[in-house]
Symmetry: C2
Subunit: 167 residues, 2 copies
């Protein structure tokens, strides 16, 4: 006689689209093949605060989020330099904070290029942010994504790509 155990491992993926003014984030829970959105939103920081203070707030917010939700994995977009080199450097501060958090909490860390994330989520690597949001709404009809900032739906696409790549 054989006893077959269903090892439905639980994964809690945090997807983050970092920024010093507004950071999008989302948490997707995956039990077996069942996916559900645990949280999706944005973390905002006042522009009057210094960069070190905002970095600390960003670190503390995600440190709490990871602990509160027992996050097991983290997905980020790889970053490419835009027009402003100093903004690119500052993005490095935020990514550095997330790398430290991935080490502190022993999270699996995944990174995908923006084009790859759009390709996987919408089937088209050149999709606009609004198209990505529409596809996500179709994939998760029970959760209303209406009115969410695009930073939040971007983060949801990032987390979903991270989950699908792991399944």
């Amino acid at each position: 006689m054989y006893i077959i155990l269903s090892l439905a491992t639980k994964m809690k993926m945090l997807g983050i689209d970092p920024g010093f003014r507004i950071a999008g984030y989302s948490i997707i829970e995956c039990t077996g093949n069942r996916l559900s959105i645990v949280d999706v939103g944005v973390f905002k920081m006042a522009q009057g605060l210094s960069i070190p203070v905002r970095l600390q707030l960003f670190y503390d917010f995600f440190n709490d989020t990871i602990q509160t939700h027992s996050i097991t994995a983290l997905t980020l977009e790889t970053s490419f330099m835009g027009k402003n080199a100093q903004n690119f450097l500052k993005l490095g501060y935020l990514r550095g904070a997330l790398y430290l958090l991935s080490q502190k909490h022993s999270l699996a860390l995944h990174e995908y290029a923006p084009r790859e994330i759009k390709q996987i989520v919408t089937g088209f690597g050149g999709a606009e942010k609004e198209q990505v949001a529409r596809v996500l709404q179709m994939l998760f009809p029970k959760v209303s994504l209406d009115g969410l900032p695009l930073d939040a739906t971007d983060a949801l696409a990032i987390a979903l790509c991270g989950v699908w790549k792991m399944l």
Copy 2:
């Protein structure tokens, strides 16, 4: 009758020249107007390790250094993008870790452009690293800087500039 109190406040300045292979650092103690080198050297990381692991090692090393030596202030160079954008982004990870440490330990944080540091230490903003090292040796004749990597003497110049700017 007046009693004059000599308020010889003690400052312990940490200067850091961050890098993922080798990071230069130095500690200068300043009691009243008397300056002394407490430590100057480099922290090396094995290239085989991943970036998040090296970032954690870098963070832990300087967290320990700040605690062990009761550091009160931190000076860094401002950074400008060189030829490699990805190296510039990675430098952002290290600087982000140092910003977080400055917040955690309530350190005064100072940043000066490389040219300004050389100008202040040697009198010439375009000085070579070797010239900077020679001037530092003349300023601190009791400590042998011979054979130290230039990352270490760079960090000493950074700390010294930070101290002089505060006096």
